[in-house]
Amino acid sequence: MSPTTPAAGEKRQINVPVMADLAARNESPEILFWVGCAGAFDDRYKRVTRAFVRILEHVGTNYAVLGLEESCTGDPAKRAGNEFLFQMQAMTNITTLNGYGIKKIVTACPHCFNTIKNEYPALGGDYEVIHHSTYLQQLINEGKVGVSGGESFKGRRITFHDSCYLGRANNIYEAPRDVLAALDADLVEMKRSRANGLCCGAGGAQMWKDAEPGKKEINIERTEEALATLSGQAEALANLGGVETETSAPGPHDLQGSIIAVSCPFCMTMMSDGVKNKEQEGRVQVFDLAELIASAEGINA
């Protein structure tokens, strides 16, 4: 950390605190940021990781990351049926986490979140685990993030795509919506949302394999719904399959500047690919919640 406090508006380099260094100094963080493999390696999601760290720094959180000591939670292995590999990963990670006495974990990946929160306890890993959507919601509610001073999202149309492992898997539907509500944007809901949300197509280890033969890719189906929602094409929305509760379509709107908000690295990949497939990447952007908040707060550099 730089010894002098930079003035407002200045760029400051962040040295991300690593758990091993803290432990060497006999310090312990209030919260461990679990970055996840996508957050660490996927070029697109690295930007989310960086945005979230900016927020953590901005509000003065006492946090740390595992850095090179982090390893895959084992989620994709478990969903694919490789229980052995999953438990090997889980127990290795639990040994690391318990060794540092970690109590509280925040992560920007719903798959890591679900696995650590729900499946590690049976293997000896008991932690308070929160997803970054809940964490951001808390920061906004506590007034630590004002969501002002940066980019304005006023009037821009945003639709939130529910991640299965956040929503149905763990019943978190409102936190990401509350975070988006702070942006004062034009929030519209897809017909298949919340408990009835349609998967992006990447869960259950589908991210790493080709889809089985079918009529369509799942991410295209979902992207078409998102685009029709953002532009208010009632006709396209009327023909969707798997709709449980009929809701009225939002009014017509220019796609330019619209945003699909996600809260999961795999949803990010699938929705971005879908938007590119539909050749709308010049008009519609896919952002994670943390990126939107960091932009609105004006702390990007």
Partner: protein, 463 residues
């Protein structure tokens, strides 16, 4: 007297046969793997009250929820009248419950109105299934032949039962009117129908008896049809919901035998608990990882297969199915029930349906050795699942098709090493790099390089 004896014999035969069939089904369910489901009584009670009795999850779709509510409430309330019929039949009484007075009036009136509404609801159900094209979730390769016929038989039987009820009441009412007597009870629908019946006392007596016997014999027959039918859900939905999972939907089951192995690998001092033994102390054959056949699934999954009414809400929200993949969660549940009855006990009528070319299966000739996995559920179906839990969420009786899918994936991966090649690549990436992609583990922290933020006032900088 003769009628009473005949009735008693029928009653005993009907319930005896039903109990015999239920015993077979109970045995089928218990071939599944042990799973301790004790405890959490308060939570299970509440869930059963809300989801099973209260039909909470049905109300995600209003139209079928209301139609179903009519038939469900009709079933519950008209059963009070069935109780009366049983007492009348056994003791030769006539409308035994009439001592209830005004309550009886209300009960009969409610019954009649519900019965009329049931006819309307059943007509709507029939239309939803049989119009051209039917509702999407009532089509699909698994809903041909027997399951399609079964659904319609249920509707036809319900019509016959309600008609018999009206016949009985109308004839009884007209008899009493012609004899200048007051029939106990209020019959708003039958009152409208009396004009349609002949004015001959002898004929009316025959009609009244015919309606009475048709109603109760119909119920006895229907009772014994249930174990062969998807309509068995009217009973099994309750234990099914009682034993539903109480943990978050994202939490997949833990395989304890693997936990022991992994612990032993990581810690040489770990003592692996002894393997379970048979009652006589001999060693049991080790259970396979995951599920190849029905007996490898937890017994709760087999119970669930019997509580399924093939409504197809699961399949209609499945992202894989919506985009034309072979996977249909409903089919996996139906396959499970078919397979357990093919391999173990089959009730009276049911003929497990061997799906034809439409489901892209090879025709199955060797039924005895055609296991659930591969014999009925193909790997192609299993690998199409995104584990999104939409099917689990949508099921009105808390069936969890996802759990069976994962159990079968476990068998494919751990026992047969039969994962798609791309997934094997992912596995070895995790093993070698600690990440599902082929990145070097030493690059894991590169995201933090050259990371800048714009300072804001009031800034809270952590020193």
């Amino acid at each position: 007297m003769l009628q009473s004896i005949l009735f008693l014999l029928l009653l005993v035969a009907a319930f005896g046969l039903f109990a015999w069939q239920v015993r077979k089904i109970r045995a089928n369910i218990l071939v599944g793997r042990d799973r301790d489901m004790s405890g959490n009584v308060a939570e299970r009670f509440q869930k059963t009250l809300l989801v099973a009795f209260g039909q909470q999850k049905m109300f995600k779709r209003l139209t079928p929820a209301l139609l179903h509510l009519i038939v469900y409430v009709g079933f519950l309330v008209i059963n009070v009248e069935v109780l009366e019929i049983v007492v009348d039949g056994l003791f030769g009484t006539h409308r035994f419950l009439k001592f209830l007075g005004p309550v009886y009036d209300g009960l009969m009136a409610t019954n009649e109105i519900l019965a009329a509404l049931v006819l309307v609801a059943v007509a709507a159900f029939w239309w939803r299934r049989n119009s051209n094209p039917p509702l999407k979730r009532f089509s699909g390769p698994e809903l041909r032949l027997w399951p399609k016929l079964d659904a319609n038989i249920i509707l036809y039987v319900e019509v016959v039962l309600m008609m018999a009820l009206f016949f009985m009441n109308t004839a009884d009412l007209k008899l009493h009117q012609m004899e200048g007597q007051d029939l106990p009870g209020t019959f708003p629908v039958s009152n409208l129908l009396v004009g349609l019946l002949p004015t001959n006392v002898a004929t009316l007596e025959v009609l009244e008896r015919t309606g009475w016997w048709a109603h109760i014999i119909g119920i006895f027959l229907f009772l014994n049809y249930l174990p062969s039918s998807k309509h068995f859900h009217i009973i099994m939905a309750f234990p099914g919901v009682w034993y539903s999972r109480l943990v978050p939907q994202g939490q997949f089951s833990n395989v304890e035998s693997i936990t022991n192995e992994v612990k032993a690998m990581m810690d040489p001092s770990f003592v692996v608990p002894p393997a379970p033994t048979a009652a006589d102390g001999s060693a049991l054959a080790p259970a396979p990882f995951g599920a190849k056949d029905v007996e490898d699934l937890p017994w709760t999954n087999l119970l669930a297969a019997y509580s399924c009414t093939e409504c197809g809400r699961c399949t209609s929200v499945c992202p894989a199915n919506l985009t034309g993949k072979l996977l249909s969660p409903r089919k996996i549940i139906m396959d499970t029930r078919d397979r357990v009855e093919e391999k173990y006990n089959s009730p009276l009528i049911f003929q497990p349906n061997v799906y034809g070319a439409e489901a892209k299966h090879e025709p199955i000739t060797d039924l005895a050795n055609a296991t659930l996995l591969r014999g009925k559920v193909t790997p192609e179906e299993l690998w199409a699942c995104t584990t999104c839990n939409a099917c689990v969420e949508s099921c009105p009786v808390n069936i969890n098709p996802l759990e069976s899918i994962i159990e079968m994936r476990r068998f494919l991966v751990l026992e047969e090493s039969a994962a798609p090649n791309s997934l094997n690549v992912m596995f070895s990436n995790i093993e070698n790099n600690g990440a599902p992609w082929a990145f070097s583990p030493s690059d894991r922290f590169n995201w933090a390089d050259e990371l800048f933020a714009t300072e804001k006032q009031p800034a809270a900088v952590v020193a």
